[in-house]
Symmetry: D2
Subunit: 346 residues, 4 copies
């Protein structure tokens, strides 16, 4: 039984880790870290866990807690983990970080986009970017996994086969993404109040969202050369879900069927990536509560472009689910252990 | 492995049975009955099951299908099951009916409130009203279970301890209930369109809703005398969830603590009924996707009344989950097999 | 042209006063009071007024501002107005208070339910409770109007005719109310975040909500004797709207038609109260954005009760609209001046 | 007083025309055309108009009705107006068509994208495309106005200044649009049920939506050469609102300030187009219920692209409001008569 600790258990992503692990046959949560709600029963903060989780939240140092568990999930603000993580901690405990601290290899890029100093750049090289479908083997060996951002996960899986195979021109790639509101976190801000979000849609972080360099870095690996994209996220009045609509010009002539075979080829053995049938668009409702990513594409002969689409649950495959998927890999378990729940609809 | 057939698999309740049973260790769905979508892959109607369920929907006779399975769930319009069910079918297969056909013992009451003739009244006596917490032992022996309505389940469990113990005056009981829109079904009606339901709340079926006699019958058993109530359902702009707010005058003086002990006593061994702590109101978000019912109450010394509240997921404990709970009992399994998923929040 | 000042212009009720008055032919807003957003353009806080309102928010003393306007609307926290209002201010300016400070005649009741000391009890006697349909003539003469609470307005108008005529037993009155989330205000609280409110319904303030004594006081005037009620508000995932479902036992035999004639009689000359046709339930969507209150009732011969229902927009008739209606009366204008906008649907 | 007739008054766009005209000082609706609800009081179909509109719906021939009014609004399915409109009708009555029948000048393009034969192609040449900000003078002289589609209106106004001035390369234009559900109409379809739309976002009509050629035709006029675009609409769980996010490469170097001056120049005298301040993104909540279109843009030096955004209410500026704006122009009224209502928030 894997002993698990969660730092930041009372945020939305933290709560989702708890939900998933309560149904996981080989893991047991040993402590629920929360600064805001220390000493209060976790099941009274997230009342859905009333009588399911009896433990209280704790607020302790990472180092001391690390001694008690096999793996730590950090669902914490940017900069936290980098400021407390040490070689000593890593020598005894695996860490899966849901923040952005170890996702970007170039520390200068991190510091520029996040506007903070990185306090442990020496640990960046060993961190594995935990996009399982891409870095499966490296994850299995990792001590420190940088769990990917929600937008990067959905974007990458939606466009990866065509960019990898050179069918689209990376310089033309435009990613228009839409997210449910849980992605904005559980902090008390006016802009996230019900009446501010409901009956509204807006773009935000236009040409400046922090997930941009993360997406670009991963796509660059796939393309084999630097990729610069346009990325625009939007806030949608729903709790969960991310939809990516990505546009790119075909780099060489290709028939629908040819591209479809590439998608099928890349994802035929992936449990969590579902390539939909021709003409069926991904919709967030079909993946809610699950770790699936639904992807599909549509060619447009009029413009010579291909429109690539992906839908997933931002809290599951975009955060907690992928984190558990990484944990499974790191501990030699079947990748989908505890993650086979069907999506909830409606 | 229990072989399962579902008639009406492509409605919301039917789809929820599928969701739950895909995670059930001891049951296997053998056919997905649907008149509307016969011959179409189930996973294309409910796209959440794409690549999870590969079977096609079928539209066959109850009798012939009954031979292939151990238990049939009927999530069908009122009157259907009563018109096709026979002793022969029941002699070979168990039936769990999610419609109202066998919930009410007095056929005249059924025919009056539902406005249709009951085609197999001779089978009513043997049907067991499948409110597990109440009729557990009878369910275990049953061939035919009438799965309770959503409002009756939530109402009954919310008020049962106090009415059973004689603490409230049944003649003063008023039940004001609120339901998410999945309770209205998947039929294409203008009144259930997004723009008609969203940003709106309304009462409906005032003083005339069909669940009224069902609630009254069950409460009468508990009270030991006929009970007549006011029951008003409301439609709430959300997918899932039922909240019951029930009002009654205390029949005898009682302190908060005394009533609390009664609730605790009645439900202390019930896995699915969670008596919340004093002052915590049930909320539908804390039970979504799960089979839990959260109940609590508040006394009001100013009026001499007690306000009893209950929240549950109408598609789970109010339909599919309770149906599976009944199946577990009927087949000798632990009652919560396949039903231990934690609620999904947010 | 009436010169208007608003204190608390950047809350939801304050913003709604601005919306209504921008379409009012005889009023002009001279200052937009806001502590939180002082010196910022109002049209950048409520971006819907961009290029419609060019003025900046101000944060000044009530006394000095009072000299510049004919009437002040205070949409402020409980206790504020009572702490700053003086006879001198009232001698020069009319005040319409949207807080609860002057709604309750018995200062002890106010202090008990609101938990704060009332700083100017000497002004309570002259304050007129601004439920226009009830106190029209008094409002016309008033210097200080206590604009009614949202729940009290909707409750009172829903039950008034029957309680006034003695058809219902006041001791049996139970009010189950449902409100959209704008009623919770624009403060940054976790409980009002989108993901906490969406897909949820809950009761709150059970047997303890502050609007209870306000409702009881007004109903007592109507009944001619003290009235004590059960009142339970619920939070609904929608922006606007209040629905009241009220239950009471008939005090004397009455036919549906007889009660209908009473409703029609009481409201036939009321522009803003619409008695719906028999069998049509009030719904909040049909009044959104308008000052209308839709009311209706249903008798229930089985229980001897009558169910009375009312729907209105909590920000309009429940706050800003009624405040403007009061202003119209106080300044000798036709009551519906600037308030004739049709409800917005969908 | 302009006498108005509406065909299709009981759809969402039709109902919105009624809402706007009930507040219009110079127009009076003489008949409410509806095939589905003939002979039923309009105020019982759209209960928001109860006691505001007393007339019954009628189902009569266009020709006979045309004799009774000065202007007809047709909010009807594609193909209807083209099948019944005649020179004789136009000789006596002005027609403002909210369908697509007369929007596209090339009848072959219309027939290809809409899949139906155009029954009165001879009337196409005289129809004026009623995008007031673009064709103001022509509208004033028109007998037949083709009211623009919702997506085309929002797209055009968002990108027009930069495409007209040659700052963006039309071949690179990608339009990603998001719409509330009222745009899908009031027909009873499963896909538009509350539970299907709520908690979901999806693309639809990818590379095939019918508004594509309409947008392209108008942009071609602006660009002075044929324009082919990618256009992808998405369905958002909200009642009203359209948001357009449009991407294009700069055709020549340009500073932010330079582009801003162009927007300001083009729209400085436009009452309904609000160019937001730098850094403020359009949001649909800020225009709900009004005829405003909020536009803004963001340059992205990293990619050499400019992201242009626009938000409006699809039922107002995208349908009924623009139709009334056209009516005002056609009858010599100030363009914003009856259309000055401030947006409703929240």
């Amino acid at each position: 039984m894997i002993k698990v600790g969660i730092i930041g258990a009372t945020g939305y992503a933290g709560g989702e880790i708890v939900r998933i692990l309560t149904g996981h046959p080989d893991a047991k949560i040993c402590w629920y870290g929360s600064r805001s709600y220390a000493d209060r029963p976790f099941g009274e903060i997230f009342q859905n866990f009333f009588r399911i989780v009896d433990e209280k939240c704790v607020d302790e140092e990472l180092a001391s807690l690390a001694e008690q568990v096999d793996v730590i999930f950090t669902a914490t603000p940017q900069g936290y983990l980098a400021s407390v993580l040490t070689e000593e901690i890593l020598s005894g405990t695996k860490v899966i970080d849901l923040s952005a601290d170890f996702r970007i290899k170039d520390v200068a890029v991190y510091e520029q986009w996040y506007g903070i100093e990185h306090k442990s750049p020496q640990l960046i090289p060993e961190a594995v970017y935990g996009l399982c479908e891409r870095n499966r083997e490296a994850v299995k060996q990792a001590r420190l996994v940088a769990n990917p951002g929600c937008y990067p996960t959905c974007t990458f899986l939606s466009v990866y086969p065509l960019i990898k195979e050179g069918f689209i021109d990376p310089d033309t790639l435009i990613v228009d993404a839409k997210s449910g509101t849980s992605g904005a976190g559980r902090g008390a801000k006016v802009q996230n109040l019900y009446c501010e979000v409901n009956e509204n849609i807006k773009a935000y972080g236009v040409a400046s969202h922090r997930h941009t360099p993360e997406i670009e870095e991963q796509l660059s690996y796939a393309a084999g050369r630097p990729v610069t994209i346009s990325f625009t996220p939007h806030l949608v009045p729903m709790n969960r879900g991310i939809l990516v609509t990505a546009y790119a010009s075909l780099a060489k002539p290709a028939k629908e069927q040819e591209l479809r075979e590439i998608y099928d080829h890349y994802y035929q053995n992936e449990y969590f990536v579902r390539v939909l049938k021709k003409g069926v668009c991904p919709e967030t409702r079909w993946v809610e509560g699950s770790n699936f990513v639904d992807v599909n594409f549509q060619t447009d002969p009029r413009t010579g472009r291909v429109i690539m689409m992906g839908a997933m649950d931002n809290l599951v495959k975009g955060a907690a689910g992928q984190a558990v998927q990484n944990m499974n890999l790191m501990f030699g378990l079947p990748e989908n252990t505890g993650l086979q729940m069907a999506p909830l609809f409606p």
